[in-house]
Amino acid sequence: MNPVFEIRRNYLIITVDGELDHYMADQIRLKADTYLEGTRIKNVIFNFQHTTFMDSSGVGVIMGRYKQVRRMKGKLYAVHMNDSIKRIILISGLHKLVCERDSIEDALKSE
């Protein structure tokens, strides 16, 4: 399944359906860059509501987007994380960089 991109205000919402592995990470990277380059977008929300799996490739792609939003003084949010994704985020230390929220609406509210 392909990642879905949506823009709301200056937020880019990336919804990851299915499994966030090496293959999916490459797809996200490819498209996210075209959205983030030369636009007003400052923040990125990763929506994990329909994500059933994630490995270190996911960590890499989140870390990469974090560096991009930091340059624009924006924030990176993660919403609807299940337990196994939370564990990956914790072990990798990403929880220190990523703002965890319950829903997309919560993330949009927080600015």
């Binding site: 499994e19 592995d21 490995d55 270190s56 960590v59 072990i91 990798s92």
Partner: protein, 179 residues
């Protein structure tokens, strides 16, 4: 059992072999099983590898969390073989394989993931968290750390230009009491 009946009918001169086979059937724990597969080293097959190992371990009745641990560990090892073992610069257009061997023994899954790629010069260093040789591909250096965290044991062997072998095991249902 159906297999055994077939064996008896078609083979005439194998009473010794047949006895051995029957003994193996008797001694073998009902859950014991083996699988050997070789898959083409392309990113699309990482999902296939996860599905194969997941399906293989099902008879041990893993919890959702145990399954997720195994899936992640297998994904890490197979992804490493594809990205690092057979880097595109060196192997473009070549048909290369990742070999996966699984064994269920009692309540333990043993899984071996092997490639014949470039190998690792310093295995100890490679296994350190956050160590990566491919930061330009946005790798985070967490693969081995996840394998260690999610499996009970891991052994990594390598020889330069010969490839890498990762052997891992995980006992299923440790928190429940086996009869």
């Amino acid at each position: 059992m159906g297999h055994q009946a077939f064996w008896k009918k078609t083979d005439t001169d194998t009473s010794e072999k047949q006895a051995g086979e029957e003994l193996w059937e008797q001694e073998r724990n009902i859950r014991d099983n083996k699988m050997e597969v070789s898959i083409l080293a392309i990113p699309e097959n990482e999902q296939l590898a996860r599905m194969l190992v997941t399906a293989f371990v099902m008879p041990l009745n893993p919890t959702i969390e145990e399954l997720s641990d195994i899936k992640t560990a297998v994904s890490e090892a197979v992804t490493n073989a594809i990205i690092h073992g057979y880097p595109k610069e060196l192997f473009f257009g070549e048909e290369k394989y990742v070999h996966i061997t699984c064994r269920n023994e009692e309540h333990t899954l043993h899984v071996k993931i092997q490639d014949e790629g470039v190998g690792i010069e310093d295995v100890k260093k490679a296994m350190e968290p956050m160590y990566t040789t491919k930061p330009e591909l946005e790798r985070s250096g967490m693969g081995f750390a996840f394998m260690e965290a999610f499996m009970d044991g891991i052994l990594v062997k390598s020889k330069l230009q010969k490839g890498v072998t990762v052997i891992m095991n995980k006992t299923i249902g440790k928190e429940v009491c086996h009869e």
